[in-house]
């Protein structure tokens, strides 16, 4: 209960200078807190980005490894292809050469060319024709030559010539 005729008026809680200082302080604090919050958010965002980039780098690294492996495989295949191609060319040339070796008097009925060597089936007018015209070049090519003759009714000879030795036959491509 008041003993006064009038009621006290409301007073400002702080003086004007202090109010200015406090306002300035509040604005400064707000700026500092705002800037700190911005930096923290940015840092957090960058950390997330770093993690994401690391994951991506690892992923790229793995991809790179796979690509390297693929490149190595392709290179290996290419080399093999080259080898096969060379071998096939050589084989083709060898076969061409082989057929060039066969004289007109001798007729081949079958030829088997494999890794181990060359097996020729044919008909020759005589053993000598065979020995002089075909066996001689075959001997220069193969290390071992075994020929078996079978006489025919007309006086000619059927022969089976098994030649083993140096000619390399083309192999399959292995992956």
């Amino acid at each position: 209960m008041s003993y006064s005729f009038i009621k006290p008026k409301r007073k400002p809680k702080i003086d004007s200078e202090s109010r200015m200082i406090m306002l300035f302080g509040a604005v400064t604090a707000l700026l500092i807190f705002g800037f700190t919050a911005y930096i923290l958010l940015k840092r957090s965002s960058m950390q997330t980005e770093i993690v994401s980039m690391r994951t991506k780098t690892e992923s790229f690294h793995l991809e790179s490894m796979e690509f390297k492996k693929e490149i190595a495989r392709i290179e290996r295949l290419a080399r093999k292809y080259d080898t096969i191609s060379t071998n096939n060319t050589l084989m083709k040339e060898s076969i061409q050469n082989l057929f060039d070796l066969v004289p007109d008097q001798i007729t081949l009925t079958k030829a088997i060319l494999d890794r181990n060597g060359l097996v020729l089936y044919g008909v020759t007018p005589s053993k000598d024709v065979y020995n002089y015209l075909l066996l001689a070049p075959l001997k220069s090519v193969f290390q071992r030559n075994v020929t078996t003759f079978y006489p025919l009714e007309n006086g000619w000879w059927r022969f089976v010539s098994v030649n083993e030795g140096s000619i390399e036959a083309g192999s399959e491509v292995e992956e």
């Binding site: 008041s2 006290p8 008026k9 702080i14 003086d15 004007s16």
Partner: protein, 316 residues
Amino acid sequence: MGKLGHYFWPKTALLFYVFEEKIHCAFGYIEEGEFDIEQRREIDLSDSSELTRWLEEIRQTYPKTYVCSMLDTTNQGAIPECSKASLEKYGIDAALVHTLCVDDSWLAYTSLVEMKWFEQRFKGVEFDLLYSPFVLLYRKCMPMLDRKPALFMLHQNGVVFFAVFSKERLWFAQVLIISPGAESEVAADMQEDEAVELAFDLEMIDEEVESISDADLLGEFKEDLEEERSGEDESAFELLEYNLNFFEEMKGALSRFYHDDRYSHDFIERVTIFDMDDLGGDLVRYIEDELFMKASLHSFDPIEVMAELVAHDLEG
């Protein structure tokens, strides 16, 4: 935050009252329900702008500074009932007064016009608390109250705030004018003339002078009187005269208290005078000798009482 604010910007108050062309001021802090006076000043009433300057100076440092004063106008009083409706019973127009119910027991009132005049008197000072002298008197005499009514008077140069209090309530209150301000000079002159005439008549009776129409004799008498009155004697005579007037006014007020049916009556045995001026002990002796009452005289500092009330009103 509140404690911090209280530490940096404490509640302070500037208390003042006007007495004999001086503004008596006090500035202090209000802390834990108490008012600690830091500084006291006396400012000439003619230079009241100094009070405004001081207040502005204080408010720059302490924005929560309250301004409190004692309303020393004469058109105020108190009635023993705490309702505005009762004012009419005591011949007071409720529309013209501002009231304050004190302790749900009695009502202090003051003239609205005079209160506004008082507020306008100090330009640039915004009042927060205005106290009635009756409230100050009540606060001061509170520890002395008991069940039996006692007379308490607050004397301020020329004005007496007369109140009868008991522990439970106010019985009677009135403002007594002993020597009114501007009119008082005329009245005082008149009284002085009357005193001179009275003295002259008595002298004539004592000396058995022939006739008062004798102009020469009158002149001689005046000269003799002026010679007899030295400086000290003159002031002592004035004080004696003042005390007698005070005594007469007090007797008149007591008589109104005893005979006015609107008030409750009881026999008063004790008189306490709180004096802001320098009444002297003679008045106490008159009262004891003439009225057979137990009287006492105490000095009164409105600042001290206002300090208690300010602490109560702003912290309580």
